[in-house]
């Protein structure tokens, strides 16, 4: 009964399922906090909301925290003692969207490549992922273009697709299969009718996207160096140097490493999220900096997400979650940059929101 077979579940059973799972492990789920929805470790089931487009931040921070202690050091009789903690805690994330799920596979490519990051690896292994397919995308979303949604192709343990009164459920791993077997009485075998309805729901969702994000041709243009420097200059001028795009980006994985002494003989080494749009990112000793200008940093950011990812991992480095669209004060987000390159208006800011050309035409 692995991924081929379809299951269904009455929508009202979702909380009972999570409540049962919560007895044995931590659950991270979307929680409404005033106007915002954020992924949080929940205490009780009534905190969970299913009424959200996507969380303000992706669950990236649960695997790669904004700040993380790498180790503590302490000078002891002419040597240093180093100690580190790797949290050992089984947990489940419910409600991750397919875009953020795909973003995790990019973090895997970076942190679990030739060298394994032990802090990330353990958290990743200890986490069960249930994605809830999005049927009402936000105005800033464009996952359809990034091949990351609305449904996920892989990376989930269980995938839930909301239909009228029930979910269709796809099993993606042994972890997911174990849940289904343990709580089998909450699940039902799916039928062709369920599959048909799922197809319709997902298909209809695809028509609701308002942002444009044609990656393949844009990436080609970057590789062929057909984009004029004036675009990067204009975008650089608009950049506020806040680093926000990287912090909200579910695929951004760069970090800085800092030593923080607490006394003369001891302290901690930490890592913190970093952003390639900040001046200090490539700052070298002797005051050298190969990317002194904002335009160079912006250019490199988009080359990295599009060209470098494509060359290295065969995919674009954007999942179309739209968070940079929301976050960037200067309008230097992925969707906008793609739009600008496509329109070949390199030196002038095009208000993407007003442009008819920006709309998805099915």
């Amino acid at each position: 009964m692995m991924d081929n077979s379809l299951l269904t579940m009455n929508k009202e059973y979702i909380i009972p399922l999570l409540r049962r799972i919560h007895k044995n492990q931590e659950i991270i789920a979307p929680v409404k906090e005033k106007e915002d929805v954020l992924f949080s470790v929940i205490k009780s089931m009534d905190e969970i909301t299913l009424d959200y487009k996507n969380a303000v931040l992706s669950p990236k921070g649960f695997f790669f925290p904004q700040q993380e202690v790498i180790f503590k050091y302490k000078e002891v009789s002419g040597d240093y003692e180093l100690s580190f903690t790797i949290t050992d805690k089984k947990r489940l994330i419910f409600g991750i969207r397919s875009c953020d799920l795909k973003a995790l596979s990019f973090l895997d490519a970076v942190y679990l490549g030739r060298y394994k990051d032990p802090y990330y690896q353990k958290k990743r292994e200890d986490t069960t992922l249930i994605n809830l397919v999005c049927v009402s995308p936000d105005t800033n979303c464009f996952c359809v273009y990034a091949n990351s949604g609305p449904m996920a192709e892989e990376g989930f343990d269980l995938q839930f697709v909301p239909l009228s009164n029930r979910f269709t459920i796809h099993v993606g791993s042994k972890k997911g299969q174990d849940i289904v077997e343990k709580y089998h009485y909450l699940f039902q075998e799916g039928t062709q009718k369920d599959l048909d309805e799922e197809y319709e729901v997902v298909h209809e969702t695809k028509t609701k996207f308002l942002r444009y994000g044609e990656f393949a041709t844009i990436t080609q243009k970057l590789i062929q160096e057909e984009v004029e420097e004036s675009l990067w200059k204009m975008l650089g001028d608009r950049c506020q140097n806040c680093g926000g795009c990287a912090y909200v980006c579910p695929t951004c994985s760069c970090f800085n490493v800092i030593d923080r002494p607490t006394t003369e003989r001891e302290g901690v080494r930490i890592r913190t999220w970093d952003s390639c749009t900040l001046f200090g990112f490539t700052h070298l000793a002797e005051g050298l900096n190969p990317r002194k200008e904002k335009k160079d940093r912006i250019k490199r950011r988009f080359y990295h997400k599009l060209d470098c990812y494509m060359g290295r991992w065969g995919t674009c480095g954007c999942v179309g979650c739209g968070r940079c669209v929301t976050a960037c004060l200067g309008g230097i987000d992925m969707s906008h940059v793609i739009h600008q390159i496509r329109m070949e208006e390199y030196g002038e800011y095009i208000s993407a929101k007003d442009s008819e050309d920006y709309r998805y035409k099915g």
């Binding site: 790498i70 180790f71 050091y73 000078e75 002419g78 040597d79 240093y80 180093l82 580190f84 790797i86 970076v110 942190y111 490549g113 030739r114 060298y115 394994k116 990051d117 032990p118 802090y119 690896q121 353990k122 994985s253 760069c254 970090f255 800085n256 490493v257 800092i258 030593d259 002494p261 003369e264 302290g267 080494r269 890592r271 970093d274 390639c276 990112f281 490539t282 700052h283 070298l284 000793a285 002797e286 190969p290 990317r291 160079d296 490199r300 080359y303 990295h304 060209d307 470098c308 060359g311 290295r312």
Partner: protein
């Protein structure tokens, strides 16, 4: 699970002045198992920690002779390196690595070798030069060019002299200017030394390390024009690799991560990187 972020502690067992603000430090791991297991290739780098200050990537400047001890030749130029220069024999640092690909060695066998080292760029070349001289019969003619800012910046002075005495090895030096020091050698850029050498580019490999502008001039205005193949020109690139293992993103340039794809690159690989190099 091995924690790749955890340094191993090592003691400074020797410090040699190499010139102004320039020292070669010899380190030895404190733990005997670590000492035993440690091995590396010329061209690889280590992450050097001074606890409480930070961590920086530094090329190994020694060839692997003694188990568990190694050398780093360091210019006092940033926070960590300036702190290191204040340290003395017996002080303890942290070491991770070795990381990076290292220089091709076997591939260069049977060929003539040209080394072009500008300033501290000689540091990563030194272990390769030593290994090639130790395996003298495997290589053809060896030419070493070294350029320094002023005579007091000439690095590995005694060794350069010794290497020059080995049969089939030529050493040429130049300084950019003389700052009141005694110097009766060449004055001018390293490229001046190309007038003094004869090399058959078809059967040679050139190893070029130094400041970026020097690499560009040496490669584009000299080596390529002389007829060197792009893949027979080998250099190392530098960035502040904060992790050394392809995670932190600081050394990403174009499609490459200098820490795991380099730091050693052929000119063929280098020339497709964005203009920042």
């Amino acid at each position: 699970m091995e924690n790749i972020y955890l340094p191993k502690t090592a003691k400074i067992i020797g410090i040699k002045d190499e010139g102004l603000d320039l020292k070669t430090f010899t380190f030895s791991f404190i733990n005997s198992e670590v000492k035993e297991a440690f091995s590396y290739k010329p061209g690889q780098f280590l992450e050097l920690s001074i606890f409480g200050v930070g961590e920086v990537p530094i090329s190994l400047s020694s060839s692997q002779i003694e188990k568990g001890s190694f050398q780093l030749t360091i210019y006092a130029i940033g926070e960590v390196t300036r702190s290191l220069h204040k340290m003395k024999v017996g002080d303890v640092v942290g070491i991770r690595g070795p990381f990076g690909n290292g220089f091709p060695f076997d591939e260069a066998k049977g060929k003539d070798i040209l080394f072009v080292g500008g300033g501290i760029g000689m540091a990563p070349l030194r272990p390769l030069i030593k290994d090639m001289i130790d395996n003298r019969s495997d290589f053809g003619h060896i030419i070493i060019l070294h350029g320094a800012r002023t005579p007091r910046y000439i690095i590995f002075r005694d060794e350069l002299k010794e290497w020059g005495k080995v049969e089939g090895v030529e050493v040429h030096m130049t300084v950019n200017r003389v700052d009141g020091e005694k110097w009766d050698g060449e004055i001018g850029l390293i490229t001046r030394l190309f007038d003094k050498i004869e090399i058959n580019p078809r059967n040679s490999v050139a190893f070029v390390c130094g400041p970026l502008f020097m690499i560009h001039i040496v490669v584009e205005d000299y080596l390529l024009k002389m007829g060197f193949q792009e893949e027979a020109i080998i250099s190392t690139l530098e960035r502040h690799m904060k992790c050394g293992v392809g995670h932190c993103g600081h050394c990403n340039v174009g499609p490459k991560y200098i820490c795991i794809d380099g730091p050693v690159f052929t000119y063929r690989e280098m020339k497709i990187l964005p203009k920042e190099f």
